[in-house]
């Protein structure tokens, strides 16, 4: 589209970035809440749309540019290729809905200093764009840090609450530990040339030893951003603390910058891939996915539940990447393309479905002021539009056909099923077990989503205040509608999506599902061959819908249609208060029971003599005690030791300086 106008995609995208920055500055300068929510955010969404269109155009080619800013002799290098274009497309397409929703959400929510928030929001979008565009380590780190800082400020929007400050600090800390690892990874990859452009790294040849070090530095560093175990601790804290549209950006898009980073380093910048990297990534991904979904099942805060579910989905994406590395390193390019496509597909799916659900929690929060599942319920009657949108998001996230979550899981399972024939015998054994764990995760996701939707929207209201809530506003509804449309389109028309993902697969693993995927026309998804596997969501949807309509017509024709309303039957129990229903805790109880060994559960049981008995169960993350608590204690201990050096007396400090001077002199001698 832009090519025909004579403008290259990279210039359009840079233009959008600058445009966003100007919008943010404009919001800060104007300080007018009406203009910010009615003009700046909707106009920003148009920027997202342009970005998505330009990225779609940039999928097929490579385009580079050099910006004459930056340090002397170190200008910013930019490049758009299939990989970055895909992630830019993800960013643009899913941020349209999020930004439109923000226009309504921030308009109705009392936010202090909306102008500042507007600036941070647009810097966040712009810096993520630049992360995808960067073609040298210097620019990448600048954009990466800008992204981390702007998102930190967005997370701590409600900074007058201590737990929000705490969540923000944890996030910033882990983000920077990760950034150090990434930086070291770049340091290894430049290989002593002192040239930090990605182009040099692409042509550098690292030994297997150094390449492995780089890969694991990248996995650790980007994993800290993505919430891969055990660097996940910040995620369930930071996501709920942020305002809902920001949570949607964090979960839907920012986590994918880490996926982008892992893919960029391991398939583009490193010229070798070793199969056991894939095994490590696969195992880590499975643990992350299982951990996320099990903890999601026992959450009682709706945003925390979604945050844990994000950990799960990142795990699933990582499983796909691990599988891709295994296949790629064993020379099975077609299978590598299949699993890579599944990973990428899941990334963009997750952006839409998790974005949608986080936006929905924003509307709920806005209407009820309540995040705790135990105080919600029955919202389907008061918020019918929202309930419908969220139902679609819930079904998509539960991985049910014919929506989008199912397509990527289907592709992933196909990749697993077609894996036999690998050279390493024990990986052949590992793969079915991994597939089993993945299937268990997917099935548990269904449990989590039923809990999420059922407790919030169905049943009787658990709180008297819920009787007066109102449905989502018009901007919020438009924003969510964009996300719903994305979920449905990605679910029903997978062949079109895969045609575009093929560019990325072609670039990274030199193979693609290509013609075979659409062999039987656009209607059937056949990743390898029609007789091996085929799936058609459109036909499936049509059959189910026609089945429903047919049944309804038949019942209407042969049935007298009389209908009475009465009190619920419930086996004749007379008392039917809202407290008789399952709570969120109650619904998660089976999971707590089955996976008790997996999590730390602290229970306080009432004694038989308590007049007001209280039962209290708390679920703890054991990994916190294993990984974080020792570091915290060691840090404190070292701090105390260092503290001993400091006396506050000037002559002691002078003595230190003197000793240092002497030592340096001796060293130079």
């Amino acid at each position: 589209m832009f090519a025909s106008l004579g403008v290259s995609p990279i210039n359009v995208i840079l233009g959008v970035t600058v445009f966003w920055l100007l919008l943010g500055l404009g919001g800060l300068a104007l300080q007018d809440n009406r203009i910010i929510t009615r003009v700046i955010f909707p106009v920003g969404a148009i920027g997202s749309l342009i970005l998505a269109t330009a990225a779609l155009g940039g999928l097929s080619g490579v385009d580079t540019a050099v910006l004459p800013i930056g340090l002397p002799d170190l200008p910013f290098h930019l490049r758009i290729d299939s990989l970055s274009a895909f992630f830019l497309l993800l960013l643009g397409a899913s941020s349209i809905g999020i930004t439109l929703f923000s226009a309504g959400y921030f308009g109705r929510m009392a936010v202090q200093e909306l102008g500042l928030l507007c600036l941070e929001y647009h810097i966040f979008l712009a810096s993520m764009t630049l992360v995808f565009l960067a073609d040298d380590a210097y620019m990448f780190m600048v954009a990466w840090e800008a992204m981390a800082l702007s998102s930190y400020f967005l997370v701590t929007t409600d900074h007058d609450q201590p737990e929000v400050r705490r969540a923000g600090f944890l996030y910033l800390l882990i983000a920077h530990v990760g950034a150090i690892a990434i930086l070291m990874g770049f340091g290894v990859m430049q290989g002593g040339h002192g040239d930090y452009t990605f182009d040099t790294m692409r042509h550098g040849h690292l030994s297997a030893y150094w390449a492995s070090i780089t890969f694991f530095l990248a996995l650790f560093g980007f994993g800290a951003k993505a919430g891969i175990l055990p660097m996940h601790a910040w995620l369930p804290e930071a996501h709920p603390a942020a305002p809902s549209p920001v949570s949607a950006l964090l979960s839907g898009i920012m986590l994918k910058t880490a996926i982008y980073g892992i893919l960029r380093v391991s398939f583009d910048l490193l010229d070798i891939q070793i199969w056991w990297w894939g095994v490590v990534a696969l195992t880590l991904g499975l643990f992350t996915a299982l951990f996320g979904v099990i903890f999601a099942a026992v959450q009682v805060d709706m945003k925390r539940l979604l945050a844990y579910s994000s950990i799960e989905n990142i795990g699933i994406i990582l499983v796909g990447i691990g599988l891709t590395i295994i296949f790629h390193a064993s020379g099975k390019e077609a299978l590598a393309a299949l699993s890579l496509t599944a990973s990428l597909y899941h990334s963009i799916n997750h952006a839409f479905m998790k974005g949608l659900l986080f936006l929905g929690t924003g509307s709920i929060l806005h209407a009820t002021g309540e995040r705790h599942l135990g105080k919600l319920g029955g919202l389907i009657h008061k918020m019918p539009n929202l309930a419908l949108f969220m139902l679609i998001g819930t079904l998509a996230l539960a991985g049910l056909p014919p929506l989008n979550g199912f397509v990527s899981e289907w592709l992933m399972l196909q990749a697993f099923l077609l894996s036999p024939g690998l050279t390493q015998a024990y990986i052949n054994m590992l793969v079915p077990i991994a597939a089993a764990a993945l299937v268990l995760t997917a099935a548990l996701a269904g449990f989590v989503m039923v809990k999420f939707y059922g407790v919030i929207f169905l049943g009787q209201p658990r709180d008297a205040g819920l009787a007066v809530v109102h449905d989502a506003g018009i901007w919020e509804r438009i924003g969510m509608l964009c996300m719903v449309a994305g979920c449905i389109a990605l679910g029903i028309f997978p062949t079109f999506v895969i045609l575009h993902l093929d560019f990325v697969a072609e670039m990274l693993v030199h193979n693609s599902l290509g013609t075979s995927a659409v062999h039987s026309g656009w209607l059937m998804l056949t990743p390898i061959a029609a007789e091996r596997a085929s799936y058609s969501p459109l036909i499936l949807l049509l059959i189910i819908v026609s089945g429903v309509v047919l049944t309804m017509l038949a019942v209407k024709k042969f049935y007298h249609g009389r209908l009475r309303r009465g009190p619920a039957w419930d086996c004749g129990f007379p008392e039917q208060g809202a407290r008789m229903q399952d709570t969120a805790e109650g619904f998660g109880q089976p999971i707590r029971q089955i996976f008790e060994w997996f999590m730390g559960v602290v229970r306080k049981m009432p004694s038989p003599f308590d007049l007001h008995p209280h039962y209290h169960a708390e679920v703890h993350d054991r990994l916190w005690n294993i990984f974080y608590a020792p570091i915290k204690r060691a840090n404190e201990a070292i701090g105390n030791q260092i503290g001993k050096l400091q006396h506050g007396r000037i002559h002691v400090y002078l003595l230190y300086s003197f000793i240092t001077l002497l030592a340096l002199l001796a060293f130079i001698e």
Partner: protein, 315 residues
Amino acid sequence: MSASAIFLQLLQNVLVLLAAPLLLGWINQCRAWLQNRNGAGMLQPYRNLLKLFHKDAVLAHNASQLFRTTPYILFACMWLAAALVPVLATDLPLSPAVDVIALVGIFALARVFISLAAMDIGTAFGSLGARREMLVGFLAEPALLMVLFTASTISQSTSLITIVETLAHKQFVLYPSMTFAAVAFVMVLLAENARVPVDNPSTHLELTMIHEAMVLEYSARHLALVEWASALKLLAYMAIGIALFIPYGIAEAGNWNALPAAIALLTFKLLLAGAGLAFIETISAKMRIFRVPEFMGTAFLLAVLGLLTHFLLET
């Protein structure tokens, strides 16, 4: 896609719809015989459905649209599932649209909808049933998929038609992998269809019911559709079992002469499977709900073992 294939598909659609209650009646009758009762006759499910369709529907005051739509969605999903499995002939035109993974997805879709509907009224039993159903579901679904994966790896395909064609052409020998898979599959079938020992289809005892607790609030036409859908689900599971483990005698593509024999053979297999189910239900006692995870865990492990056995012994 030939006209004969479309005719076959329509034939199977209608047949499963009509045969599903009959299968349920047969199982109940077998159970009655095994328990030294006379039984209500094999046609009793039809009478029940007819009775329910004649009644006035009663809806709870706070039932939402979701509650009213769910029986139709459930019915459509189960009808589709039962109509897809190639048990009569191998050229069903709808089958390529849905492979085994999507088939499990359809079951999951139906399960999620009925669980949500159960939570909709906000009664104690409804949400209790929903929770238990999802518990059984998330344990059974992986086991079922692993069973199907075993068949898929043997036939190098997840397409139902290819699986059945491959397995039907194999020699009749006992594959260790398929034996493990068959045991796991029977366990999944019992759990997913709310049969003893996991659930009891004819109980309304508060502490033990799972499926019945979910559909307590349904009445008349809605209940009829839910019951019919359950019968279709049972038929679909039996059909999957037959297609995976005893596909012999199925009519190949275009072979019209084999069709009457295939129908007769299928009827025989279903009668046998129904009697077997009744036998299992008669000799076992319902287990406590807390034991269900162990039961399903065993099924899951057996299925994984089956898949591993395939890799170890059969490749």
